[in-house]
Symmetry: C2
Subunit: 273 residues, 2 copies
């Protein structure tokens, strides 16, 4: 069965070779292989990297124990991408098709993260409660709560998703975090500045120049911080040997909300005397 | 070059065939093929479905014009999944690796959706402004704004991501929307009930039984509505010949926020006289 390892081109070399020549003389002496103990994602990365149609699998003694072919790898790549998709939306991987998953099973895959996120949301409630006086004095501040926390969450979710996917496909190495962070500080400043201008216009229009300034400056800080959190959390999870996809859009959004509110009300309290 | 279409097993049939036999006698008469005008995602789905290592490509006259092999398909499947990942986080597809994308290019891929989402957030601001009197009368209502809108957004993002991925991989057909909607109404009720209980505990603890009831009932409605929106929007986009992945987590979150606030303040205004 070992000839099955070869692709059509290699088979042609065999067929056209002199029948007297031994296999040893026409084989490659350097080759890629997988260990039977590798994660199945390793098989996807190796087959993609070397553009091969099959890879030999060896055990810890170097004994050939099997073959992984590209069609198996295509299925694995698809399943892994689906799992990462689900994780990035704070759904525990279904491990089967949506159609075959019952309502109760789906419920179990979804309620866990939703409840954890409710607990994280408590931070946001506490921040607003702590600044109750500021809010009572300028009720218009409440109008901009969704604007600020949505924008922060959205920017953070963008950043986290870019990192999660590129860490999963090997486009980005965990060791590159510092270089990427520097790139994303300028990215966050650019995005924050543009969003800050938009926020000033809206704040000014609804509640005057002072509130406009508070909303605008808060937006800049929130987008900058959210972007950095979105970049760093997937790397931190990788460092902790956890799946970076845990830094789902919902988790980033919910975390950023409490930070954003703290920034917003702190700025509002000091600027709106 | 046409023998390249064959996999190792088929080649074996040739090698072991009587040299006098014509190809016609050993070939398959039914076969899968691609049109040169198919979307490249079709190639991924076909190779996955038939577990083949290569597919012939024909033009509109049925003339064989080329071959798609499984290693090309693996690359395409990976790129398509990456694009869907980016779209699902409201990032315009980068079309190149993150490393090769400059800060300015990244900015352009991200700012568009962020600004659109700011405009959608205005709905949320308007809702809060419209209920300013209710909020002034019971300021504690503000504490639960992040809790409610985060929870709605999270449940909606979960639902949308499940649909987007399954529509992209063909696990779910667009025609199945009504059946899935029915399944998701019970799903939304289950999730909403559990989240409503959690919301009651938090509301009661922070602001007493009346506010607790308002928060709890709002949570049930928000989660139910968010879940349905998350399910239906990807199908609606498909029906409009748009990419379902446009129903990104940030878009769902931002849309759900305004609906959630409307539900919350309407219930609060009628219950808290």
């Amino acid at each position: 069965e070992s000839w099955r390892l070869l692709d059509a081109l290699e088979l042609q070399r065999f067929i056209l070779a002199d029948p007297e020549v031994a296999v040893e003389e026409i084989m490659d002496h350097t080759y890629a292989y997988l260990s039977a103990y590798d994660d199945r994602e390793q098989a996807v990365l190796a087959i993609e990297r070397y553009d091969l149609s099959a890879l030999p699998v060896i055990n810890s003694d170097g004994v050939l124990v099997g073959v992984v072919t590209v069609d198996d790898v295509l299925d694995v790549a698809r399943e892994e991408a689906t799992e990462d998709f689900q994780k990035s939306a704070a759904v525990a991987p279904l491990k089967m098709s949506y159609r075959d998953t019952s309502v109760l099973q789906l419920y179990r895959k979804r309620i866990g993260w939703l409840v954890v996120l409710v607990l994280i949301s408590l931070l946001s409630s506490s921040v607003i409660a702590a600044f109750e006086e500021t809010l009572a004095a300028t009720l218009a501040l409440a109008f901009f709560i969704p604007l600020l926390i949505d924008s922060g969450g959205n920017a953070g979710a963008q950043a986290a998703s870019l990192m999660i996917r590129d860490l999963a496909t090997g486009e980005i190495e965990p060791a590159q975090w510092a270089k990427i962070m520097l790139k994303e500080i300028s990215q966050g400043l650019l995005l924050g500045a543009a969003m800050g201008v938009a926020a000033f216009v809206l704040g000014y229009w609804r509640a005057g120049a002072q509130v406009g300034l508070v909303v605008s400056f808060s937006m800049l800080v929130v987008v900058l911080v959210a972007n950095l959190l979105g970049i760093l959390l997937p790397f931190l999870l990788t460092r902790l040997k956890l799946d970076p996809a845990v830094a789902s859009s919902p988790l980033i959004t919910t975390l950023v909300d409490s930070i954003g509110l703290l920034v917003y009300f702190t700025i509002a309290t000091s600027l709106l005397k």
